[in-house]
Amino acid sequence: MAEKTLRGAFPLSTRKISARIGIAPIIAAVVLLIIILIAIFAPLVAPHDPLLQNPIERLKPPSSDHLLGTDNYGRDLFSRVVYGARVSLVIGIGVTILSVVIGLAVGLVSGFFRTADAVIMRIMDGLMAMPSVLLAIAIVSLVGASIWTVMAAITIPEIPRVVRLVRSVVLTAREEPYVEAAIALGTSMPRVLWRHLMPNTFAPLTVQATYVCASAILTEAILSFLGAGVSTETPTWGNIMAEARVFFQLKPSLILWPGLALSLCILSINLLGDAARDVLDPRMGKRED
């Protein structure tokens, strides 16, 4: 069933796809793949324990032992940046899955049932009004910081964006004669939603998911930087930069390297998202003039 509903959501052949998107997304995919592999095999890639403090080696410049030098506690910066990828990717992927699954379900119901729609959309407006950073600080101050609270805090404001997207697709698709035909054939409402309406949302959702992922990674870094994120015992790109803030003038590379990793990761995801949009929605692609 899943295979059947997926088919047709992605209408182009591989040859046409490569012709339309060019080289940038391919580089982006490679970069992202490298980041993912580094995150998965962090213990093998990192030469040192990212938490091991070594006061004698404080703030050392890059050397053969410490590729990117060390921080103010003498911890190996390269190892910390490598481990930081783990948190970023887990948060990025986790938030994406959570917000897409919840948003899809709520959006389908909201788009199809007019009575539910009015209530759901007002709740979504409310959720959307909460800035994720403030929400995260509030949640963290209530229940303490962990990867889960950070994830929840970032997911909540993302859900309404997904809901709105799914709802708009369903609102258009439900007017299609084939949906009316299905109703005339006695198909039950849940089945109409599942079989005839949901597949229409896959293409736009794929695009939206990449943006959600990039924005989640960025928000996590901001939260860590502000000290409202994952505790400093776990290295993340955000909290490495936060700790380095004091030593910025002395040793700018402490901020440069995690910042660069963060930028590369988000840029790659966004480029992939743009490519997905061009492939799935030809109207948004480049004009051929």
Partner: protein, 540 residues
């Protein structure tokens, strides 16, 4: 010298030159002459006209060979900016859909002025005067107000008049009209055709009129070019083409045009009432909690009966409420008041759950075969959906789907394919097979053949009649096309502004109309004086 001379024009798909869509056509149009380019969808008639205007979509189609001479000047040799200039001053085009061809956020008067400002050096006052004069010429009332209106504030007919004014304001030598009346009601169509004719006589414009409608051809053409699959099949004086076509294709095309002379109603064999609609009302809009919103009475006191094995047509122009009635009968929308009885059972008040057993007994075929089948399901999956919903084992339903496909004239092996692999006519057959899979007592066909070419249309109509004879199904046939209604319906109800103004046996209603509106509809039907199938004028 002819105004337009198209010589040996070849158009091919840009990326692969061997894929030609127009194979060397030659067309000639003189000043003051109306030439019709007719053909079914995919015949290349629109592509030819776009090529003439230099408007072929870049990167997908291009002219590979031939010359297009406008007053002796080869348009294919011109630079884009020269061509842009010729497009406004020497030739212009009007399109099928007047809503999308006008800019929705600019007042229509300004849109016409823009054309003048871009191509002439008239002063503001002169420009304004010229626009007003043009609006007057295209027969618009209250021209000062119309000029200040936005497109959405005007009716379809008025918008098309604006398009014509815009096209003719620079007095071009050539006017290309691509299906300009297809989206309009017959009465409006009649006025627009008359207007084009009048303006043409006044200004001596050469008109290339593209249409699929033989009625329109009989009405307006001086000469006719018939196209089929990118080839020019036949050309000649309109009288000669209509009365003694030389080619088989033209012959077939003409004989597919349904006659306006109603066929004899079939005798009532079955006494069983399939559908009984009594005093049906549907009101849209209405008061909210605090406000008193405007209401629209889309159906007013509509009553009719339909017995098994017979076809009742509901005809009328857009906005007459015919589709509202169909959708109420299908319970796609809830009627405001009135009764709908299917096989003696009242269904108008039933809830969604209560309706479930009755859904099986009424099925619908929709207008647009490109949208009525889910593109992501194989046609077999679409056909068995209904029976499986009502408990038929999938295996049995699949076997039945194969039989049904054969019944509608498609191979059973087509079952595993997707809708996009079929033509419009084939898809409509599939939609009919899907409806029949439920073994309904009533089939509601809402403009079911309107999107199809005449030759395909006649096949689908034959199929419906054949199925009806075999199964005794009752058909409620909604159409705006009186020709179709005359050929398939036993009884006809004529609707106007939500009301049934005349109802009775087809032969009576269309043969001897009593109500003035029915008479107006019939007299507006294009080509009513010509008996296409027999290649002669209708005997008086």
């Amino acid at each position: 010298m002819p105004v337009l001379m198209v010589e040996d024009l070849h158009v091919a798909v840009d990326s692969k030159a061997e894929l030609e869509v127009v194979h060397g056509i030659t067309i000639e149009i003189n000043a003051g002459e109306t030439v019709c380019l007719v053909g079914e969808s995919g015949s290349g008639k629109s592509v030819s006209s776009l090529a003439t205007m230099g408007l072929l979509p870049k990167g997908s189609l291009k002219v590979t060979k031939g010359r297009i001479l406008l007053d002796g000047e080869n348009l294919l040799d011109l630079s884009p900016s020269q061509l842009r200039d010729r497009r406004a001053t020497r030739m212009s085009m009007i399109f099928q859909e007047p809503m999308t061809a006008l800019n929705p956020v600019i007042k229509v008067g300004e849109q016409i002025e823009e054309v003048l400002q871009a191509h002439t050096k008239l002063s503001n006052a002169e420009t304004h005067a010229k626009v007003m004069d043009m609006l007057e010429q295209v027969g618009l009332p209250d021209i000062e107000r119309i000029a200040r209106s936005y497109p959405h504030q005007l009716s379809g007919g008025q918008r098309q008049r604006i398009m014509i004014a815009m096209a003719l304001v620079l007095e071009p030598r050539l006017l290309i009209a691509d299906e300009p009346t297809t989206a309009l009601d017959v009465t409006t169509q009649k006025q627009i055709l008359k207007l084009i004719k009048e303006l043409q006589e006044k200004h001596g414009t050469a008109v290339l009129f593209i249409t699929h409608d033989m009625g329109v051809v009989a009405e307006i053409a001086d000469r006719v070019y018939v196209m089929n699959q990118g080839d020019l099949v036949e050309s000649g004086e309109v009288k000669q083409i209509l009365s003694s076509p030389r080619q088989d294709y033209t012959r077939r095309l003409l004989s597919s045009v349904p006659s306006l002379v109603p066929r004899a109603s079939r005798p009532v064999i079955r006494k069983k009432l399939a559908l009984q609609v009594t005093e049906l009302n549907k009101v849209y809009g209405g008061g909210g909690f605090l406000s008193k919103a405007k209401t629209t009475h889309a159906a007013r006191e509509v009553s009719f009966n339909l017995t098994a094995g017979r076809t009742l047509g509901i005809v009328g122009e857009s906005g007459s409420g015919k589709s509202t009635v169909a959708r109420c009968v299908m319970r796609m929308i809830d009627p405001t008041s009135g009764g709908i009885r299917v096989g003696g059972q009242e269904i108008s008040g039933l809830t969604r759950k209560g309706l479930h057993p009755f859904r099986k007994r009424l099925q619908m075929v929709f207008q647009d075969p490109y949208r009525s089948l889910n593109p992501r399901l194989t046609i077999e999956e679409s056909i068995i959906e209904g029976p499986v919903n009502y408990g038929t084992p999938p295996k049995e339903a699949r076997a039945r789907a194969g039989e049904l496909l054969e019944l509608v004239g498609l191979p059973a092996s087509a079952a595993k394919r997707y809708p996009h692999m079929f033509s419009g006519g084939q898809r409509q057959r599939i939609a009919i097979a899907r409806a029949l899979a439920m073994e309904p007592e009533l089939l509601v066909a809402d403009e079911a053949v309107s999107a199809l070419d005449v030759s395909v249309q006649s096949q689908v109509l034959e199929l419906l009649t054949e199925i009806q004879e075999r199964t005794g199904i009752a058909i409620l046939f909604i159409t705006h096309d009186l020709r179709v209604a005359a050929q398939i319906c036993d009884e006809v109800a004529v609707m106007r502004r939500g009301e049934v103004v005349e109802i009775g046996e087809t032969a009576d209603v269309l043969g001897n109309p009593q109500h003035e509106y029915t008479q107006a509809l019939l007299s507006a039907a294009p080509g009513r004086d010509w008996d296409f199938a027999n290649f002669r004028p209708v005997a008086a």
